[in-house]
């Protein structure tokens, strides 16, 4: 292969290098660590997929603030309501993201926040209902990398 480099190729390689400097990442949690964190919340109870809606953009242009909304199908009455909602990630440095406690006075089981995602990964939301059952939903998010970062 000839080693001659044209100016344009150099420019391409050089700008690619701008992206490469952000590829260094801290040690991450693993899907197993996430399972452990979920276990700490649900114990030996069975977690069933369904009733939970997890809204996250499938593609995020920055992992520093990704909007997240979790809602759960529930009448939210004293007899039948959502007690808690927990969010976990599989590749952040630690799997726990947020745990909220609510009850019938919420009127509806719906919370929003903004989260950090260190990498492209799966996010899991688990709802704990007043009858002791656990329900879940998951979402995959692709996090894109910014090109020109300042020195930090």
């Amino acid at each position: 292969m000839p080693l001659r480099t044209t100016r344009r190729e150099f420019l391409r390689a050089a700008t690619a290098g701008m992206a490469a400097i952000v590829a260094v990442r801290p040690a991450a949690a693993t899907p197993a660590a996430m399972q452990d964190a979920i276990g700490a919340v649900v114990g030996t109870a069975r977690v069933t997929k369904g009733r939970v809606k997890l809204e996250l953009p499938p593609l995020s242009e920055n992992g520093n603030a990704v909007p997240l909304t979790v809602s759960v199908e529930s009448a939210m009455t004293p007899a039948e309501h959502v007690r808690a909602i927990h969010v976990f990630t599989e590749k952040n440095p630690q799997p726990d993201v947020v745990s909220v406690r609510l009850g019938p006075r919420a009127g509806r089981a719906r919370v929003s926040t903004r989260i950090r995602l260190a990498d492209t990964q799966t996010v899991v939301a688990i709802a704990e209902l007043s009858d002791g059952s656990f329900w879940s939903a998951e979402a995959a998010v692709v996090v894109t990398l910014a090109a020109c970062l300042e020195e930090t």
Partner: protein
């Protein structure tokens, strides 16, 4: 090397022979390149984190400070009226200095000369807060910097800086933002670099920052030695970019990725 270049071709910058200003009808604010989610964050004042700085700026506006014991409001009154359009007109010519000054420099001049208080450091929380509060009063107004015989040389200097290749990557601002806007650099869309929303909340910074902070990011990105905050060269560049975005509507304090 060739294979690397081919594999990364999707990121490649096409380098055309000559810079051409973006036609008026094709100009796009950075807002137009953002995801739906990031736009929503900017559009709702109760969700836009930059509003935390505006709130703080409003408190500083009314607080007496300095040896003169005077608040901004003591001279300027209600900022909604007195500061309307001010950010859209900066950088503006300052007769005392004989050159254009940025909005931050104007605020600090007021502090030092009228309030007899020490100047606030660039990128300090207080200066960003006051700047954001003042810039908020221009939201929705067209950018309108004055170009006349006095400011023309500084505008020309700003344009020259924009067009000059620099840094180890030997890139000029225009190569990305005039000639390759809309293409991708790594995962990000290259915007046209219109300063409609500064100071703004960048998700990358996780905080509010000035236009000069953004300039310094770009300069570091092309591996050049960045100018210091407040350097006349950066103010000239601000002036050129505001002129280049003339007529576009201010959306400060904006949110950008």
């Amino acid at each position: 090397m060739l294979r690397l270049a081919a594999a990364l071709g999707a990121l490649g910058l096409a380098v055309s022979a000559l810079a051409a200003e973006i036609p008026s009808a094709e100009r796009r604010s950075g807002y137009d390149f953002m995801s739906r989610e990031t736009r929503a964050m900017q559009d709702d004042d109760t969700a836009n984190p930059a509003m935390l700085w505006v709130l703080e700026g409003g408190a500083l506006w009314n607080r007496k400070t300095g040896a003169a014991g005077r608040a901004c409001a003591d001279c300027h009154g209600d900022a909604r009226a007195s500061m309307k359009g001010v950010a859209a007109r900066h950088p503006a010519f300052d007769a005392g200095r004989g050159r254009p000054v940025s909005l931050e420099q104007r605020i600090n001049a007021c502090r030092v000369e009228r309030q007899q208080a020490p100047a606030l450091a660039y990128e300090s929380r207080e200066l960003l807060a006051l700047t954001a509060f003042v810039a908020r009063q221009s939201r929705g107004l067209p950018i309108d910097v004055a170009v006349d015989a006095r400011t023309q040389p500084f505008l020309d200097a700003g344009r020259a800086l924009w067009e000059r290749r620099q840094g180890q990557l030997n890139l000029a601002c225009r190569q990305c933002h005039d000639e390759n806007w809309g293409h991708r650099l790594a995962g990000s869309v290259i915007p046209q670099a219109h300063p409609t929303g500064y100071p703004l909340y960048r998700l990358e910074w996780q905080a509010l920052g000035s236009l000069q902070r953004r300039f310094r990011n770009c300069l570091i990105g092309v591996r050049s030695e960045p100018y210091e905050y407040g350097d006349p060269a950066l103010v000239d560049l601000e002036l050129y970019l505001k002129w280049r975005a003339r007529g576009m509507l201010m959306d400060a304090p904006a949110v950008r990725p």
